[in-house]
């Protein structure tokens, strides 16, 4: 048995330390918001936060996450009210939606580091997240909107 801290909650799961963290999160902890895309760190659908970094859980082994803080899309906000989630709704960003938990988790790191990101900074941060539906223009727009929401919230 290994103990994982996911979304500030402790999970005791029967996982091989060599197992991809994605399997542990989805199949053993039952948190299915994080998606399997390519399995080789090429698409970004499986991005979670490991100690705040936008790590790809399909190639990250369980042993790397033991004793570390894991955040999945389910833990990004308490009530689905992270500025990015609100902006994603506002701009109707997803089409099929499959890649968007990964998109949001990468964008959350961007917005934390760059509260007012430029288009170039959005490109730098989001280039590893692929969207087959091609929602990139709406993703960019929503990130700018979320940044604005975040600024207004901070100014209050």
């Amino acid at each position: 048995m290994v103990s994982l801290q996911i979304n500030k909650k402790s999970y005791s799961i029967d996982a091989d330390p060599e197992m991809p963290l994605l399997w542990a999160i989805r199949d053993l902890a039952g948190l299915t918001g994080t998606k399997f895309g390519c399995g080789v760190a090429q698409c970004g659908a499986c991005v979670i936060h490991l100690n705040g970094e936008a790590v790809r859980s399909c190639v990250t082994k369980v042993k790397r996450a033991i004793g570390q803080q894991i955040t999945t899309i389910e833990g990004l906000s308490a009530n689905n009210d992270h500025p990015l989630q609100l902006a994603w709704n506002e701009e109707n960003v997803p089409q099929c939606g499959y890649c968007h938990s990964g998109q949001l988790m990468s964008a959350a790191v961007l917005l934390r580091e760059k509260p007012n990101p430029t288009d170039a900074e959005i490109d730098d941060a989001m280039a590893g997240n692929i969207c087959r539906c091609g929602t990139y223009p709406r993703i960019r727009k929503a990130i700018h909107l979320a940044a604005e929401m975040q600024r207004k919230e901070t100014a209050k």
């Binding site: 090429q42 991005v47 790809r56 790397r64 790191v109 730098d124």
Partner: protein, 201 residues
């Protein structure tokens, strides 16, 4: 007290043997002994020509680009997703090297190779290999302002750096450098100890 010293002596000898004698191949011993420097420009240049073929192989070159995006593959194409170097060489924002590159190689072809210290040279000292002639690269290698502030002894030891060694443990589907690490290290040390001469071109 004498018995204590005797036991300690035996233990230290054993540890020393384990560290330098039993686990390491013979070529590694040279790193830890004091090298003998004797200038010989012909031998030095000849050794560097060998070193150069390794430094310019994809396993070394791919992380020493002239730009801020590393290369990938045996054909040294631009890394997909265009990850950027960042200030410390470890990536930027949601695109840090270690987000994909694990402490060890990921199994399978076309998966990220791994190392606990995976990174590019930092932004303030890019240590570019791409496009460098043998002469340019040799001169760069011995310039502390371009080589990570290394003196000759540190340069010699750098042959056993973990990230350098990972060039010979690069994961499935990637061609190794053109010679063994032992041969590379021998040429590297020969080049330095014979004066680190730069080829004419």
């Amino acid at each position: 007290m004498i018995r204590l010293y005797t036991v300690l002596g035996i233990l230290l000898t054993f540890v020393g043997l384990m560290a330098f004698g039993l686990n390491e191949p013979q070529h590694a011993i040279a790193t830890f002994s004091k090298p003998i420097f004797k200038k010989d420009s012909i031998a030095s240049v000849k050794a560097f020509q060998q070193v150069y073929t390794v430094l310019m192989s994809p396993r070394c070159l791919n992380c020493h680009p002239a730009g801020d995006v590393p290369f990938q593959g045996d054909d040294s194409h631009l890394h997909t997703m265009f990850p950027k170097r960042g200030i410390d060489g470890k990536g930027v924002l949601a695109m840090k090297c270690a987000n994909c590159h694990q402490p060890e190689n990921t199994p399978g072809v076309h998966t990220p190779p791994g190392n606990p210290n995976w990174h590019l040279p930092p932004a303030n000292m890019k240590m570019v290999f791409e496009g460098k002639s043998p002469r340019q690269l040799a001169r760069q290698m011995v310039d502390p302002n371009q080589n990570g502030h290394k003196n000759m002894q540190q340069l010699i030891e750098h042959a056993d750096d973990g990230l350098v060694l990972s060039g010979w443990n690069m994961g499935e589907g990637r061609t190794k450098p053109p010679m063994s690490h032992a041969a590379f290290k021998k040429a590297w040390i020969t080049w330095i100890t014979t004066g680190a001469f730069a080829p004419k071109k």
